[in-house]
Structures are given as structure tokens and as C-alpha cells.
């Protein structure tokens, strides 16, 4: 079963709007949550991340909101630009030497101008 779930599967927003991507998880040992951005034909690349001791992380137009009690987080993309059109993956890790990440299904974002 999918331990990290994302919604919606796809999302279309107008340029300048805020896109909101949702993520939830089941494993209480997860303590690190990176978001990866993937463009067609490329591998995923780290966009922004948050640790479970924080409830918010901001980097420019990208903000993660984290609710540990509900095991939910969201990625907000403010002032969306056509160049933000990509697939976004929520991931989670319990830390440790393996560093392995569990990924969600991904949300495909399209920004139209």
C-alpha cells in the first residue's frame, strides 16, 4: 500500500494564482519530508524540504505547511509561473544511514498564461 499519498493527481492554474498540492503519510517514524520537482525527460530534483520539528518552511514562492498531528503536509506555489509546470513529488524518510525516501504518486501541475 502507498505509505505516502498525494492529491490531486493533476492541477491546472492560471499564471499568478496559488497552486496547492497535498500530501499525507501513514508511518509515524517519518521525520523528513522533501518535495522533488520533475520536468519531462529529466530526473527529479530537490525543490524544498521540511523536518518534523517545524510546521512551516518557506523558500521564495514555495512554502511547505506541515501538520504532524494529522500526518499531512501541503506545498503552496504562490504567483505560479509557466516555468513551474512540472510533476511534484512528496517524499518521506525516517532518517538513518540508508537515507532512502518513500515517494508519493506525484501531482502534475500545469500553469497556463
Amino acid at each position: 500500500q502507498q505509505q505516502v499519498r498525494q492529491s490531486p493527481q493533476s492541477l491546472t492554474v492560471w499564471e499568478g494564482e496559488t497552486a496547492i498540492l497535498n500530501c499525507s503519510y501513514e508511518d509515524s517514524t517519518f521525520n523528513y519530508f522533501p518535495w522533488y520537482q520533475q520536468f519531462p525527460g529529466e530526473g527529479p530534483a530537490l525543490l524544498i524540504s521540511i523536518r518534523s520539528v517545524s510546521d512551516k518552511k518557506e523558500d521564495g514562492r514555495f512554502t511547505i505547511f506541515f501538520n504532524k498531528r494529522e500526518k499531512k503536509l501541503s506545498l503552496h506555489i504562490t504567483d505560479s509561473q509557466p516555468g513551474d509546470s512540472a510533476t511534484y513529488f512528496c517524499a518521506a524518510s525516517s532518517g538513518g544511514l540508508s537515507g532512502k525516501l518513500t515517494f508519493g504518486e506525484g501531482t502534475q501541475v500545469t500553469v497556463i498564461s
Binding site: Q6, G43, P44, S93, G95, L97, S98, G99, K100, L101
Partner: protein
């Protein structure tokens, strides 16, 4: 700049054939990973490695073997390829500390089609 290079970029194989996907990293990272990406499933971990000589099973290891002959190289081997293994495969490297995961750097992927 972190660099992970995968080869080949595209591969067509026949059912029952042997397939080897290769990955090279110049980051001097200890850990390397093989994921497959399928629509509706995101990325799923097949095998990973802590360093040369080490291979560990990930979440979906059945039908796959891995080999880590050196710090730089990590291969994924399909001894008897099946059509269900048609997918896009990504290799990644990462340097992790004792208490937390750090950034994974991904290659550009290998698109495998098994006929």
C-alpha cells in the same frame, strides 16, 4: 555540481532476456539507489547500496538484482526480463549523516521496454 549518469537512455529488450542498467556518479556519495517510475505509483525503491560491495533490498526487489563494484558505479540487473518490468528507471546518489537523510541526486533515467 552533483552528477549521476545513466546508460543506456533507452533500451528495448525481449521477454526472458537479460538486461543491465548502469549508473555512474562523480559525487563521491556513499549511498546509491535504484527507483522505477510508473504512472499512479510515483517512484518505488528497488535496491540501494551503502558503498562498494554492499547491496540492500528496497520495497520492490523481486525480479531484480543489483551490483556495486565501486563507489562510483551501481548496476541494476534483470536476469529474466518480463513485460511488467517495462518502466522508467532512475538511479540516485546521496550522502547521509547519522541522524537524517540528505539530498538525493537523480540521473536522467533509462526508459526500458520489454516486448
Amino acid at each position: 555540481e552533483a552528477a549521476v549518469t545513466q546508460s543506456p537512455r533507452n533500451k528495448v529488450a525481449v521477454t526472458g532476456g537479460k538486461v543491465t542498467l548502469s549508473c555512474n556518479q562523480t559525487n563521491n556519495h556513499n549511498n546509491m539507489y535504484w527507483y522505477r517510475q510508473d504512472t499512479g505509483h510515483g517512484l518505488r525503491l528497488i535496491h540501494y547500496s551503502y558503498g562498494a560491495g554492499s547491496t540492500e533490498k528496497g520495497d520492490i526487489p523481486d525480479g531484480y538484482k543489483a551490483s556495486r563494484p565501486s563507489q562510483e558505479n551501481f548496476s541494476l540487473i534483470l536476469e529474466l526480463a518480463t513485460p511488467s518490468q517495462t518502466s522508467v528507471y532512475f538511479c540516485a546518489s546521496g550522502r547521509t549523516g547519522s541522524f537524517s537523510a540528505e539530498t538525493l541526486y537523480f540521473g536522467s533515467g533509462t526508459r526500458l521496454t520489454v516486448l
